[in-house]
């Protein structure tokens, strides 16, 4: 029975399903490393997924769909920065506000512009020449037969690690998240860094939404994300604020998702509630383990004010 569950297609689905988690969580990681907790990721994903879908549904190209999703995402990230950096509002509450805004806005747009769930033909799978034919352990099928956004999402992991650890910008982000007063004293603008990371985070959350609606599913319906954005926020903690950790978390969660689908397919009777409960339980365990991480942005959620 195990060989029925752990098939190459389950692992391929794991890779595929990790995409939205990866985009959203990597983006949120930038914001959190700079000290901003954006709980509204799911709301941004919803609006982004609608914007991307509607652009394509109206006859726009897939690239235009991606741009539309990232643009509205960036706008919402900018709004979050304005609320929490400039107005210094409580981040937990404003993030929930942003989520509710996104939920309501996507619902409203859906009702008035679509009415019923619709489909589009999304990003096609790209078979990497040569590599996609590898039969050994199903490697070709697992890794090299995916749509463009899947490759982009995984490419962003080493890129993010490079940006965080090897560039002046990444150094600024890390400093601002742990000791904004030090960054400020060294002439780094705390507000500017947080505005940029929040905007990046928003754009990537929008992209995460698009990766659902115009790549993974190719359809739009109400509350398309069903809470994936919140998982993405938790994944940042899970990954201890490191890109590869975030990737490990995204894969673990998408693996649980893929298993759940497969178990349903082969008709094995496990209540789906168990698989729904797994993510939060894993998250809580991970939080206990990672709470002592040295990388932790200790100034998370705290607005910065000079001279205290």
């Amino acid at each position: 029975m195990l060989d029925e569950i752990f098939t190459a297609s389950v692992f391929a689905a794991t890779i595929r399903l990790a995409t939205p988690y990866l985009f959203a969580a990597l983006g949120e990681m930038y914001a959190q490393r700079s000290g901003l907790l954006n709980l509204g990721v799911d709301g941004i994903m919803l609006v982004g997924s609608f914007a991307g879908f509607y652009q394509v549904y109206q006859g726009g190209s897939l690239l235009e769909g991606v741009i539309a999703a990232m643009f509205v995402g960036a706008l919402m990230g900018l709004a979050m920065a304005f609320i929490s950096v400039t107005l210094k509002a409580e981040q937990g509450i404003s993030g929930i506000g942003l989520y509710l805004f996104g939920l309501g806005m996507s619902e409203l747009l859906f009702q008035s512009l679509l009415g019923t769930p619709r489909t589009v033909s999304g990003f096609p799978d790209i078979y990497i020449p040569g590599l996609s034919d590898i039969q050994f352990l199903g490697i070709g099928q697992i890794f090299f037969q995916h749509n463009l956004l899947v490759y982009v999402a995984f490419a962003l992991v080493p890129i993010s690690a490079f940006i965080l650890n090897k560039t002046p910008f990444g150094l600024n982000i890390r400093a601002v998240g742990q000791m904004p007063a030090a960054a400020d004293a060294m002439g780094v603008s705390v507000s500017r860094v947080r505005y940029i990371t929040s905007t990046i985070g928003g754009a990537m959350a929008g992209l995460a939404g698009a990766s659902l609606s115009i790549a993974l599913i190719g359809a739009y319906q109400q509350n398309l994300t069903s809470g994936m954005g919140f998982i993405a926020v938790a994944l940042v903690y899970f990954g201890a604020w490191r890109p590869y950790g975030v990737m490990a978390g995204a894969l673990l969660f998408s693996f649980v998702n893929a298993l759940q689908l497969q178990i349903n397919v082969i008709g094995f009777d496990i209540p789906t509630e168990f698989t729904v409960m797994a993510p939060p339980i894993i998250t809580i365990l991970a939080l206990v383990i990672t709470s002592k991480s040295k990388e932790k942005p200790t100034e998370l959620t705290k607005p910065f004010e000079r001279g205290t």
Binding site: K166, L171, N172, R174, Q178, M179, D184, A185, V188, S189
Partner: protein
Amino acid sequence: MGQGMALQFKHLHMNGIVKQFPGVLACDHVDFDVQAGEIHALLGENGAGKSTLMKILYGLYRHDEGEILLNDEPLNASSPTDTIARGVGMIHQHFMLVPSLTVVENIALGLREEPADASFISRLRSRSVLDLGRIRKKLVELSETYNLRVNPDSPIWQLSVGEQQRVEILRALYKGSELLILDEPTAVLTPQEVDDLFLILRQMADDGRGLIFISHKLHEVINLTHRITVLRDGCRVGSIATQDATKEILAEMMVGRPVVFQYDQDAAKRGPVRLSMQNVESVSDRGTPGLSGVSMEVHAGEIVGVAGVSGNGQKELAEVIAGLRVATAGSVTALDKDITNAEPAKIKSLGISYIPEERMVDGIIKDFSVAENYILRDCTTQHYAANGLFMRFNKIKDACEEAIRAYAIKTPHTSTKIKSLSGGNIQKLVLARELSSDPQIIIASQPTRGVDIGAIEYIHHRLLEERDNGKAILLISEDLDEVLLLADRILVIYEGQFVGEVDRDDVVIEEIGKMMAGSAQHEMA
């Protein structure tokens, strides 16, 4: 020595600087100047305006009036970026270092590296990729020139306080600072580390740099500097050449009245043991050993002083006695009762008072009024609350007013929020509250940190009075001068252990300094 390159800095003038904060005139037409090769002390009590003036110079605050001239050219800085570019550096009292970053990374923070050549590619490269190798190389050269040894690849959290300060100085030198502001740089150092620091500072001045040394430790100022400017209540009291200065003159300039530096105290009349600890161990906040086998006794009628460099177990020691931290081994006995890991309330009710190190966090509730803070620990007693339920506001007000009179606390009213009081007045209120219950044992942790000289004098007198009344007092202080001044017996703490005990009459400061740095540990063991 020197770097073999000519420095640009000639002199700095700050003329008629005014800075108004809501409700406070922090700087009132202050004049200040520094010349190349000079170490100029800026002296004053907390709230005198020293830090504000320097933050204005460094570009962290904007002044309302006045002008700043660096080499006769205006310095109109809107942020530290501008001042750093003009060669001004600042060593902050609370180190501006990011704990998880390495030494090199901290120095790279905010740094604009010059591109190797003018081509587009190398310009892009220098802005988008960190060249830590290049920074490390220059850093190692600098640290050899000035004998500032530190491992460039250690994360900051692994470094000692003295090493962290070296990183701060190295960073300022790296950025080409020729005018250096040092905000209370000796507060966290051992006497030997202070000597080392002074050597480096003198060398930097000899190279032609200008140094501004902010401090309230008079002997250090007299020891190190060339000229001294004193501020009081936001105004410049005056400047004098250091060779003409004495402690008495400076203190009078700071406080506005003569100050006594030696108390006439009688020999301690030691009574029975009141407080004792046997092989106590505990864990610090960081999860490392906080106390590793501490044993000691405090008798009635004596002050036992605990000297040591910050972070060697002082906090854990006080908290274990007060019941705020778990002792993982050993026992604590007070007034012949075992109080190991007892509830704080029980420990207090036995007659043990605790004046906490972090008074703004553990001593008071900032947004409560003076009166509310005064009755915090006794608010459920019959005296302040009928049947422990309903507050007796008149009695509370009367008691608080009496304390305000007795301890000369400056506050507009008993209902004033305590956070608007000065550090000295807050500490006096904490002291008033903690002594109001007539305790047999007093644990005083950093009782005068951040407190002005006038209040320090008062607090010292109160502690000596309590001693003469037969109380057992444990004085934990990182200010060695304070311990030497008050304690009848001095215990030196290092890495969670007592490494030496010295009687008041046998004090040799160098010996204590060595013990504080841990070098006498082997002799003890």
